[in-house]
Symmetry: C2
Subunit: 252 residues, 2 copies
Amino acid sequence: MTDEVGAQRTKVQQIADDLKAAIERGDYGPGDRLPGENALAAQYGVASLTARRALKVLSTEGLVESKKGAGARVLSFRPIRRRGIPRVASGQWGSGRSIWSADDHRAPDVDQITVDEDAAPPEHVRDVLELGPDETACVRSRRYVLEGRPVMLAASYLPQALVAGSPITQADTGPGGIYARLADLGHAPTRFREEIRVRLPTADEAARLSIPTDRSVIKLARTAFDADGRAVEINEMTLDSAAYVLDYEFDA
Amino acid sequence: MTDEVGAQRTKVQQIADDLKAAIERGDYGPGDRLPGENALAAQYGVASLTARRALKVLSTEGLVESKKGAGARVLSFRPIRRRGIPRVASGQWGSGRSIWSADDHRAPDVDQITVDEDAAPPEHVRDVLELGPDETACVRSRRYVLEGRPVMLAASYLPQALVAGSPITQADTGPGGIYARLADLGHAPTRFREEIRVRLPTADEAARLSIPTDRSVIKLARTAFDADGRAVEINEMTLDSAAYVLDYEFDA
């Protein structure tokens, strides 16, 4: 990139960094309007396009909502804290304070669910579930919303031969959900693996999550193993990166 | 957004999704050149700007490197697998296959390190370390590189009063590193908490990691607690999101 483009990008980020710090300090609270692009342009001595791009960084990150004519308003949504490992003896450790502020007490609800009892899973799922070339999977696809906002997509894959005829193939799996039903079948999960990566959303993911196409998603694949070490379920989750703080606590 | 802008964005993503799928299938291997923007524009019946934006999605995600005149070449860099929890009895679980291909065997090296024995930490660090208003922290800042590519920044904060005069205040902390030295001081870490969120990089983070300003970073804060439940270290890491797969394995 040329020096001029580089300098302009740095300016965009500096303005964005300043605005984010001001929000973090509480100078602007939920519902407050940030300075407009003309005010910012004058304040920093930059073109209004540069100021507009700085404001766009904040809307990409989900910190503000920009509406034509109304400027950028600070959003009140607090990220959801997702604990990967069930918490034990929580009060015992340190101040109990977290690095990042997030909501411990709300859980999103399922607003869309489809079950395909007999589907051909993607290759990487087939590999991890150790399915033969003719074997299929039961796929449970859900969308989760919080305060009307879609925050996560999830697709669970289970070996079709293992779960055929069980409530796992129904929309409502009953009390305790999939893991309780796997226990009923003699395959209670005893160990989990969570793999996490970050990338831009596909067209379908951006549409279903209603997020800007330049906001990253967190891909979180959770594999459940039974006591024999067999992979019995893979849950591939797609999280709006602005909506979550992930949290893992474990002994040394 | 207007329907026209929306339709164009969707087209950008569809082309990007197709190219990513082709790379995943192996149609294009490391070093191969993707079709240029004119070829893609003709193939999809879109403007060349649309095709250019699709190629930019791939360079933002770190899948290709774009050079003027040379087009977009597929990169060979494999993400690093970072295990949050030390692995036990690895062979025992399932096929041993992971959802995402990543490198288990390479670890990045430190290429920059600075130690400030007596610094005023940010407020959220002060809170979690339970430092009084006059107390300070020892801050160890490092940058990690792999194959010459910066992949992670890390800043460790430890209570100054706890570590003053110990090798923790030196660039070289000796065998076993910070945790072994905390053990020498009678504060061996016995429990860890890792908190993860994703956001766009600050100007400084993008510059130090040499990443595009529109590629997200993973913020990973690891807090170490001693046997008394006291927070003795916070390591705030900033990861190039294209360079890492995070991995957590634990019992149900």
